[in-house]
């Protein structure tokens, strides 16, 4: 299996461990990732709040470069915000020649041309459907039996485009978690919003949303995420939130491929676990003792 790979800006900065662990587990699964040449920012949520056209032109540039590269059409994207921005171009140009022409007028400035071949895939979609629980199971060397893991999906890999899971009651992570030997935590917070950039502009509101999620995870050993923004929001402000709610809400937050990597017997360093802001010693010990 081969995919083009769009890491996105966060995976070069605050989410390096998401990049490391994604590459690690894909390598273990025999999947080849070909990074898109000279990729640039997808616009995140800032372009969309600035200009409609810019919010499509920025991701379109990356799709156009991807289409030039290989005879592979599928682009694997780990960040949910990047995924949605790239997917939006795929969806909005399909069958809309006018939109396609407008974007191509802009891309022509860089001698690029979008044909509409690229298919944008979220990492979770690829893990759940292309690899599948059976493949994951076959790679497990260190069972995580005894652990309870809360699957957190967030919003933008599920909505508005319903591609690989139920947009309100997602389930795609459960068989994957269970393939590692761990149990999936049953809760109804998996598809709720982490507040996105509220943490930067309206922290009071962001904290309220995250507090609900952390409270819902009570009883689990860790929450797994599939998005750098969700990860940061859930892990970075736990002490403040606990203090504010008068409760112990600290919990380990991991990226899904980090959890899988631990089950595959990959070392903590290779998975960048030392880079997480909330991986507790108690959790890491429990992992060691599991199985």
């Amino acid at each position: 299996m081969r995919y083009l790979y769009y890491p996105g800006c966060s995976l070069e900065g605050t989410a390096i461990e998401y990049n490391l662990s994604t590459r690690c587990i894909m390598h273990m699964a025999g999947v080849e990732l070909v990074e898109i040449d000279d990729w640039t920012c997808c616009g995140a949520s800032a372009a969309e709040a600035t200009s409609d056209l810019l919010s499509l032109a920025l991701p379109a540039r990356n799709l156009a470069i991807a289409e030039k590269m290989e005879d592979v059409d599928e682009i694997l994207v780990p960040c949910s915000a990047c995924y949605l921005n790239l997917k939006k171009v795929e969806e909005k140009t399909r069958g809309d020649q006018r939109m396609m022409n407008t974007l191509n007028t802009i891309l022509a400035e860089e001698n690029l041309r979008l044909q509409g071949r690229a298919v944008v895939r979220h990492l979770l979609d690829v893990i759940a459907n292309d690899l599948g629980a059976q493949k994951i199971l076959s790679l497990v060397k260190h069972s995580l039996r005894g652990l309870i893991i809360a699957p957190y999906y967030g919003c933008q890999c599920l909505r508005p485009y319903t591609v690989f899971d139920d947009p309100e009651v997602p389930q795609s992570m459960e068989p994957i978690i269970e393939a590692t030997g761990a149990k999936a935590h049953h809760w109804d917070m998996g598809a709720t919003c982490c507040g996105a950039s509220h943490m930067n502009t309206r922290m009071d509101v962001g904290i309220e949303l995250v507090a609900h999620i952390l409270e819902g995870a009570k009883g689990a050993d860790a929450i797994v995420t599939v998005c750098p923004m969700c990860q940061m929001n859930l892990e970075a402000h736990q002490r403040k939130i606990s203090h504010w709610r008068h409760a112990e809400l600290d919990i380990t937050i991991l990226y899904l491929p980090q959890l899988l990597g631990l089950a595959f017997g990959i070392s903590e360093e290779e998975l960048g676990l030392n880079l997480n802001l909330s991986a507790s010693d108690a959790f890491l010990e429990k992992i060691q003792k599991a199985a």
Binding site: C9, S10, G13, C41, L58, I106, R159, H198, N200
Partner: protein, 190 residues
């Protein structure tokens, strides 16, 4: 003098309704059922609920809409879009309101505007967003000493983890300049 003032008011009303017109078009079919409000994770913090906001949009109440914080509290979760029984693209309509507020540099929306503006500047300079540069510029632009303070402990943690670098920043090479300029050109009315 009086005539000029009246004309000013008139022109402002016309251009206001002009800007809202595409959004009104998007949500014309709203039947005020309240599903959007019931779905919105941020409704608790809003002054007008999303349902009320859509009504104001249809009524062309531009001043009231932009006095309200409602649209700036949308975190793009897409639940309302998913559930609206009329199938309206509500998240995009929220984004369109954010774009108007940004275009007009509305004071009430200051933090979000500065956040997005500094983010896009970093993208324009480097092609990829340099998180440290962007956050530093954002905090400087906000000019509220309490804002960076709230982030101090996080900033220190990130620097300690080597996730953001304070000392090294690449030289700006503006790799997306042609795209930014072309978008600008297409968006500027002749």
């Amino acid at each position: 003098m009086k005539t000029a003032t009246n004309l000013d008011v008139y022109y402002e009303a016309v251009s206001a309704s002009d800007k809202l017109a595409p959004i009104q078009e998007m949500i014309r079919a709203c039947m005020q059922c309240g599903t959007c409000t019931g779905s919105c994770p941020n409704a608790f913090a809003m002054d007008y609920t999303p349902r009320q906001l859509w009504r104001l949009v249809l009524l062309g109440q531009k001043d009231e809409i932009f006095r309200s914080k409602t649209f700036s509290l949308c975190s793009d979760c897409y639940l309302c879009t998913l559930r609206c029984p009329r199938g309206l693209h509500l998240t995009e309509a929220m984004d369109a309101l954010k774009q108007i507020a940004a275009g007009e540099n509305r004071a009430e929306y200051k933090y979000s505007i500065l956040f997005n503006k500094n983010f896009m500047q970093s993208v324009r300079r480097h092609g990829r967003v340099k998180e440290m540069e962007f956050m530093t510029n954002y905090f400087t632009a906000v000019k509220n000493p309490l804002v960076p303070f709230r982030f101090a402990s996080l900033g220190i943690k990130l620097i300690a983890k080597g996730k953001v670098s304070v000392s090294w920043l690449p030289k700006a090479r503006f790799p997306l300049e042609k795209i930014f300029q072309k978008v600008n050109e297409l968006e500027t009315p002749p």
